[in-house]
Amino acid sequence: MSAFSYVINTDGIAVLTFDLPGEKVNKLTASVMAELDALLDELAAKKEIKALVFRSGKKESFIAGADIGEIRDIADAGKGERLARHGQATLSKLEALPFPTVAAIHGPCMGGGLELALACTYRVISNDQRTALALPEVRLGIIPGFGGTQRLPRLVGLANAIDMILSGKSVYPKQARKIGLADEVTYRETLLSVALATAKKAIGRPRPARVRTSHPLTNRLIEGSPLTRPLVYRMARKSALKETRGNYPAPLAALESIRYGMAHGKEAGYVNEAKMIGRLAPTEVTKNLISVFYLNETLKRDPHPSHYGISRAGVLGAGVMGGGIAQLLAERGVAVRMKDVSTKAVGAGLKEAWQIFSKRQKKGILTALQARDGFDRITGAADYTGFGTADLAVEAVVEDMNIKKNVLRDFEAVAREDAIFASNTSSLSITEMATASKRPDRVVGMHFFNPVERMPLVEVVRGEKTSDPTVSAIATLSRKLGKLPVVVNDGPGFLVNRILMPYLGEAVAMLEQGAAIEEIDWALLQFGMPMGAFILLDEIGIDIAHKVSEILHQGLGARVRPSGLLGALYRDGYYGRKNGRGFYEYQGGRRVGPDISLARRISAEARGKERIGPEEVVDRAILRMIKEAALCLEDKIVDRPDLLDAALIFGIGFPPFRGGLLKYADMIGSKIIVEKLEGNAKKHGERFEPPRCLVEMAKGGKGFYA
């Protein structure tokens, strides 16, 4: 079946519709591109065509991009380069048609889809919320390969193009018009008629001159001059290096592709762009990023969509977490009643939610009206009034089993029979908590990660008696909230904290051995972690970390015994950022540098003696994680290595370019992992003792994935 069809109207305007059969969205697969190529020859020969409108046959999207599966399968540079060259040639053909072309865009217009639109003479887009234009290739480790790095800067200017291509972020209708990416913005209902009118007007007219947008004069001056242009590149390069720490080659490659094309002309630029695709596509980083993309897709898809409607929720506990959860629910249309013990505490929770709304408004994610309406959905109470109509309560009170049980009982006393009680505990047993419930099947864990606004993961924790519909309801809700749920079984620390705590514990152990805070954090940042272990400990709160590690120690035994230093700091009132005393020093809420007074706490003989190199830092911290992850699989906390990897990537930001913790472990190989664990066990004790499951895996020459 053909993906393209066209009709020619009485004005001589051809309307070309792209509708990939059997797919929900349009993708530019190799065969689609070949079909388009042939079709363009046919259209070019038709004398009666005076203009052309290109549109999507899908209702809610334009083109999702290239076929990611095809990119994943690129095994060598030659194949990647050829794929890009073919695509470029087809789009150049589109650009060279003997009549004007108009892309009519509604819904997502991504990657290759936008590159196709860039090859058209004009772009008319709908002002719908779903309409977004982006070149997100760098997020998959590659660069736009169908001429995007060449056409975009010529259309919207260097600064805008660099911003779009290096970040991969979406541009929405208003901004698209502003930077000149869109020629017209209209309603989705009038999209086709406006596109036809634009085409009709363009008949016989010369191509519009580029750049003809409204960007600031200063930008044009700086970009226009060959003297100052290198400055633009240098600044972009610097900020890209700072953000990627050299772990992600794609943004720099994209920048180079832009620079080369601007310096040597479009044609040379295409050739160079395709070469870079060839170089980037087969790399490990690209394969890993693509696998993370698929993980994301897997978690987004709902295997058991729940029909339990959640339109009213209670949030118990108005702290930072409670405020964040309330904000998230309210933004997505759920009416929230937030409760705490005093009106003062309630006020603090409302303030937290309000600040997140304001921040998101400032960032342009929400309009002023959306932010206001969202916040309007939250009310506060110092009692249980208003909880009788709630479909769900999310509990975010202090991490104390007795208090949580009391809150659960109090809620059930006023709640509807079928209301769900979800605990946001980070480590307390859901099964144990549910013993306080009259309806333990409706008790479940819903563990958000801090900050709620940014971390995509939700651990949905199934207690022994939690029912399947309850789990589905929370998983479906999490997706509705824009989060990625991973269902895990109950156990100390569930999945993510159980693996995270040994990692953080090892960092503290290295500190006790005499290594410096900033050296440890630097090594972990270089490895790709989003923040250093000690910064993270300060953010989580040393009190919380201490409590969680005690719980893990009780539940899992000596291998996760927390270090003495953590407990000592906790007892001395070091709680991390929240009270301004942690591993780092804080001045006016800003982190200034490691707290040097901590050195006093480290035994004199150790102090400064032992230097632990960055590789060893990473090895020790990550090995502890791998060991615990193996045990999580053995204990059936989750049953699939990819879910475990996804949880760590989306929950604590385990570096996506490494594909996941267990992917990384497999890359090293189980045999070497076991050897390294044994070596460290000799030096540092049983916490590194390789577990039997790993030893057997190594013996069988197997990995976690295969």
Binding site: T343, W354, T385, G386
Partner: protein
């Protein structure tokens, strides 16, 4: 006739205008208290048939403030809403309209409110400035534009204060305080009487507050950006003294007057809301109502003597209810001005007054101070005009509940020479 019940109602803390609520628009005050009524009654929001909100100032940004409040409070867009304006009795009018609509069979469950943000009354421009701007915009030549600009005099640039405009009766040309001075002259009311009345209002409010009486009446308000809970009225003075009151200069008639800022109600921000339905529906839903609306009446008289009107309204509502003043066990008479309350008290027992103004009618009888405004009144707590009419009904019912009483009267004067009165019962 159907029985109509008030299920429950609350108000925000009242705050003197220009203080803690000065940046909170009337809509936000209304939405906050409407949300609390829904939450605390547990009413199914979809069961509400109509929203009626009383408001005197009618903000320009929310022309039909009831609709805006309903939607901001999260009520379904399928629920209609309208606003009512009877100046100071707007909040009482909302309840009266709900009462009438339910009796007429138009609705069964109505959410009513009374809101006012007197801090947010707008400043307007003078007519001359407005004309000049229009002329300037339309001017085609530089000269014409210039002419429009130079036609202005400095005083044309001063703002027209909406609050003062609103508080001035357009028929008699008197600002409200001066209508109180008319009553002072009519009835020969001494300054000292007024000040003593005002002092008692503050004392009664203080006693009630300290006894925790407002806890089931006032909801906490969380005001951005700090969100510290506001749980107490801002205005009543615990340590008010006669000396301090006596020192104040007459505010409206500086030379001959007796009405001061101390013996008048302050301009105030605040909102109240309540859930009203037919008694049958309340029974079906399992509610125990706060009280029944027995009768409600509005009456009118000379705009320059607007403060006396509670007399006329009470006279009318007693007739409607088939009751006598002696049947009333507890009274809320809104304290716009001490002088005006005293005038009502005197006229109520005056044969001469009735003979002259209500010929053929007997004096209605005493407004007993020991059962009137027992928790203080608007002189202490403030008078956000569109809200007070609903507040006094709620305050009355909650005190009747505490005292185990069955019949109460809420009455008030209304700018423009009207009066409102409602008789409520607890069964």
């Amino acid at each position: 006739m159907k029985d109509i019940v008030i299920i429950e109602g609350f108000r925000t803390p009242y705050a003197k205008a220009g203080t803690v609520l000065k940046d909170v628009p009337a809509v936000d005050l209304g939405a906050a208290v409407v949300k609390e009524v829904i939450m605390r009654t547990g009413v199914d929001p979809l069961a509400i048939d109509e929203v009626i909100v009383g408001n005197a100032g009618m903000p320009a940004e929310a022309a039909n403030i009831a609709r805006v409040i309903a939607l901001r409070a999260g009520l379904s867009e399928r629920i209609p809403a309208y606003s009512v304006q009877r100046n100071c009795a707007s909040g009482m009018q909302a309840a009266a309209s709900a009462y009438a609509q339910i009796i007429a069979g138009m609705n069964e469950i109505v959410l009513v409110g009374g809101v006012e943000s007197m801090s947010n009354y707008s400043f307007q421009m003078t007519k001359r400035l407005q004309n000049a701007i229009t002329a300037f915009r339309r001017s085609k030549t530089f000269g014409a534009g210039l002419k429009a600009v130079v036609s202005l005099r400095p005083r044309d640039l001063l703002p027209v204060v909406g609050l003062l405009e609103g508080l001035t009766d357009p028929i008699s040309g008197l600002i409200m305080g001066l209508t109180a001075e008319v009553l002072v002259r009519d009835f020969g009311i001494a300054r000292r009487e007024q000040d003593e009345f005002a002092l008692e209002s503050h004392r009664r409010w203080t006693r009630a507050f300290e006894a925790g009486k407002f806890k089931n009446e006032v909801i906490p308000l969380y005001v951005p950006p700090k969100f510290e809970p506001l749980e107490k009225d801002v205005g009543p003075r615990k340590d008010e003294t006669m000396e301090a009151l006596e020192k104040l200069k007459p505010y409206f008639d500086r030379k001959n007057g007796t009405v001061t800022a101390g013996n008048s109600s302050p301009v105030t921000d605040g909102a109240a809301a309540a859930l009203i339905m037919s008694a049958d529906r309340a029974r079906e839903l399992g509610y125990k109502p706060l009280g029944y609306i027995k009768a409600v009446a509005f009456a009118a008289f000379d705009p320059s003597r607007m403060g006396i009107t509670p007399l006329y309204a009470t006279h009318k509502v007693l007739k409607l209810a088939g009751m006598k003043m002696t049947d009333i066990e507890l009274i809320e008479l809104n304290e716009a001005f001490a002088a005006q309350v005293i005038a009502v008290e005197r006229a109520a027992v005056s044969r001469e007054y009735f003979a002259e103004h209500l010929p053929g009618e007997e004096p209605i009888g005493e407004f007993r101070r020991d059962i009137m405004n027992v928790n203080g009144g608007a002189i202490a707590v403030g008078h956000p005009v569109g809200s007070s009419g609903l507040r006094i009904v709620l305050t009355l019912l909650k005190e009747m509940e505490r005292r185990g009483l069955t019949v109460g009267l809420a009455t008030m004067c209304v700018g423009g020479g009207q009066g409102g009165a409602m008789i409520v019962e607890r069964r």
